[in-house]
Subunit: 255 residues, 6 copies
């Protein structure tokens, strides 16, 4: 199997891949953010990279190095900025990095880019970075960009199997069953099952407060329990997500 990770290719090999035409470059977008006592800080970059890699293998794509730092963690989806270890960028700075990377890929001749977001808080700053890059390239440029939170490719069927008692929604799935299962699948040595906290799903009011009410967030940083996680569930999710994701890439970009 040929290399899919861009940082592990020589520029000559990379050029060949681009010159063959139809290359799709995946940009994983992660964060450095608390993920409870049982998962490491780098989960979002690791998982978005792992998913990007799986999909790239299926569609013959290339995976650029992940953005390791993401937008500021919010209490209702990532626990908030008050946790030590969470290391975040200002929104505009994240957007500008995305803008630069896309513009550079365009210079290489790439016209098909996929942003694989693994950190919910990144979403709008990725959108803005894409929009600014497309403005730079001009309305007639061939560049087309796909963007997604990778978990959205999970099917209802799989969610039903993973959450036999009902799916609490992606909002609380921070360091919970899905991410923990995926880490058990991809990086089992970085999951400390004995440290999973016992936590009832957090309920947030319909408003945010700034500076955040830290008492709204469990001291563990986990928003709903990861107790139900398993490597098997991880494999199930990966299969569903990557199949759907690869299909969508093929549909959008041909090949």
């Amino acid at each position: 199997m040929s290399e899919v990770m861009m940082d592990r290719m020589s520029w000559v090999d990379y050029r060949s891949r681009i010159e063959q035409g139809n290359a799709v470059v995946f940009l994983p977008c992660g964060s450095l953010e608390q993920h409870g006592p049982h998962l490491p800080l780098g989960v979002d970059a690791m998982l978005s990279t792992a998913v990007a890699r799986e999909v790239a293998v299926r569609v013959g794509g290339i995976v650029a190095p992940a953005l390791s730092y993401g937008y500021k963690s919010q209490p209702r989806c990532g626990g908030g900025q008050h946790f030590p270890g969470t290391t975040s960028l200002d929104g505009d700075h994240l957007s500008q990095v995305v803008r630069d990377v896309i513009r550079e890929l365009a210079r290489h001749g790439v016209t098909q880019v996929v942003l694989v977001d693994g950190h919910y808080e990144n979403q709008w700053f990725l959108i803005e970075g894409i929009d600014l890059a497309l403005r730079d390239l001009g309305v007639d440029h061939a560049m087309r960009i796909m963007r997604t939170e990778y978990w959205d490719f999970c099917t209802e069927e799989v969610l039903g199997e993973v959450f036999p008692d009902g799916f609490p929604g992606f909002a609380l799935e921070h360091a919970a069953v899905i991410e923990t299962s995926l880490m058990l699948h991809f990086h089992p040595e970085l999951v400390w099952m004995d440290k999973i906290p016992d936590v009832a799903p957090v309920e947030f009011p319909p408003h945010d407060m700034y500076p955040p009410h830290t008492h709204w967030v469990p001291t563990s940083g986990v928003l709903s329990s990861a107790r139900g996680a398993s490597a098997e569930k991880g494999a199930l999710i990966v299969d569903a997500v990557c199949a759907g994701f690869a299909d969508a890439v093929r549909r959008e970009f041909g090949g």
Copy 2:
């Protein structure tokens, strides 16, 4: 041996390390840049991370995720921006990311940070990012920051052994003997010795031209030959650099 990579620690473990006091956090600063046909695009991030890791192990430090994208490649030190694969950031965007990361580390309680630069072109935008972060923190903040191009810790003795015919200077050491030897030491599977180009050391005039004269740069992207590289030389350089680097860290930060 305990974990040194920050993205592989849980936030709880990271907090413990910070609370013990005297923690030193290393930030490797790389690039995605052509390194000839015999080395991968990610060399600078890989080597700055590897060196940071070695030094962190010696001084009990922590290594944050590398900045995988760096400042624009220049013909005289990195070959230039015209190579496919080279993927660079605007200077201010790089500085702002550095500023954000330092400010976040300060929020965690970290007061000792080391920027380990593995990409020559990054230097001044790292300096600016540091200056802006220190301005944000205020003149009375305890934060102290060390910054270096890691190869500057190499001793004259080792340079003499590595270059028996004389050291051509760091300026041309892009994808040449030092970086290739280090990659043979740290990531031998990512060095393709049979692809090393035969190139006489490039001589540049005392001025730059923009848009760059691409004919000033060998088509391989290599500025002087890597033929003399070996894993043994890599080990020699690593030992010298890491010893000197660790000493400097201890001298500056105690411990």
Copy 3:
């Protein structure tokens, strides 16, 4: 009843309100965005202002002038930027305006601010503006900021009454039953019921494409039908939202 709209108060009256202590200032955050053929472009500013006013009357607050321009419309929640009339700001510019307004309110002595978002796409740039403003003010400043999309205060009960056949979710509620009902309640002269398009709820795939696939969006710009809208439903929603909103303000800010 005394004036609640800040732009209709003299500075002397405004100062009195602030000096009495406990003043809460509401900042409605709108957009200029297509809302189908049956609603005007200014819906989001009008509704966020109207709701802010209702709540301000209940809690003795002050309503600052709305931000009339918002972040870029997205296909899946606002139809997208390709519609004539949709007039949007770059994300950073929106954040900076929010930052400036909050910093100025702080200079007046205000320490309780509520951002009332009426345009889903604004959310993260408002969050960033708040974060930047709080950084400017310093960690010891008394400023506390509430932020919400106003419709999130709608109760399950009311949603049940408004959508007897089941609530399709807020995602598709652009220019649909809720916004149309609210406009019928607050600005009936600006609703053209005979122009409501017949549209089945749009289904979006789990990814975005840029430049947007305009064929994913109905040519009317409406994502699900507004046929079920009525002034009565508008009144029902307003009552529920404003009651819940005012309670939350009182709980957070006292008074």
Copy 4:
């Protein structure tokens, strides 16, 4: 009479207006700024909108929502930033909003835009916003932009009638006879005649001081008395200004 306010049109109606060709879009540029104890904080947005509306009616134009927040108030023309209620933007942020709005109007197909400034301090940041937008659009774009402080269309004759004892100059006309008369004409319910302060025209030295000498400014915030204001004078001024303004628009843009 057909609608002239853009935020009250549906996107379909707006599109028709643009497609008819020759549409002129007016952007009122206001502020939220103290205007003495007898006028409300929103005077500049209200008056620039009212004038824009009158002129738009005469020339068949469209009025976009006003910029409700403007540049920082200066002692010699607006009293200064030390008054509670005055809520201002950084200059660059104001320019960027103007840039964005113009670029969006160009996307709609608009090529004739009029910035109607109602706040003297805005002037140069509007100019910069226009220049940046035109740079974005490129030198060959058809966009043409008119910009004015609306009061400059007042004739010498009318000024003679309004100020029988001699016109003190626009510099001191902050919250004074002209603005008060215009408010009596357009929004009489927002003028509190009994609160007009007795103030001799302020004389400023030929230099500014920062931080401002607040003692240079009357505590009322009024720079010369509004005692001579009347609704009749307001009508007189409006007639002269709008006639001259509409003529200029027709001359520049045809129609």
Copy 5:
């Protein structure tokens, strides 16, 4: 007489001057802008520097190097950006340079700064630079800043002598009698009297157009004739301006 030009002092001498207390640092703010066929492009930097120097001599001040590039030339006061040679900065960039210089002077211990503007178009971007610098320094900082267009210190009496037929106003005094007389006084070798164009005072309408109507501006770039200029008038103006300016500096800053 001791040196007043900062760039001609050693840092040791500069430090002595600052340590004596009460030092006033003047920052001349110029431009590179067409000044007709009879005056050089650098007039604004030359004259603001010359005036600053005269005043600094009188009050024992220090003159920092001029800002040689200013804000964009406008038709009604500087002829416009379409003239070759006119070389201008974006407004924000000018403001940021001013901000940086003031912050650096504050670091040196300077608390009294005078911005001497010689280019009308600079005014508001200087004001913004000052405001941003003062925000950086914090509300409790001792820094006080004076700002002026130097010609505003000219007395009515002198204007009467210089313009025996009536003063047309500063607006048209671009490359006209005042600037030409001042150049004849300070830099006679850079005035080419035989090239002074014959031009009636230009009359501008009450609005601006962008892109500028270049036909509104005489092809010479001169807005009213400089025929009446003389070195004697230059001396007269200098005496009046510098006397008034020095008095104001003494009044504001003591000494």
Copy 6:
């Protein structure tokens, strides 16, 4: 000899020079920075201007006004920011000024620009300014830009004569033999030979510290002694540098 300084030409004369074709415009890039007790703060602007002027005379070029303020002084090459008098810009602000000036020169019809850097710390921010300007101009623009630190044109032969005991390297040549000799050649009245400090060449470790260790830098601010400086050496260096520089300009730009 005709005028070479742009700020001393009328716009009409400047236009003639540009219209003749092949004009080369030099932009000297200086700083305001301590240069020991024996040299003035403005050395870098003075010397880069003087060298630019000499070269411009030889090649028929034009010298734009120097950038008088540069990037932040670093201990190892300029002594550091802790010296009073050193007055520096943020890196991005310097880059933006360069970007603006180049874009304006392009508007004049200039396609050959030379940045003459006289302050080592400026280098990378000039490079970035050039890159941003070229991006603005578009890939098809004819603009070509040369950039250099002027001293790099000094020949080995001359260095041998100037440093009979061996050349310590440019790194320590701050306010040392080369700059002092050049000042003795160009501005002897601004060199105070009796104040030259006795200082052994400073040795810096392979890393930087921030905030800087001020004890690493001699209190005089001089990094190696200027004792060997003389006007004769200055003449020698000027001849060599300007000859090489002019040759390079002719080679790159023809003529």
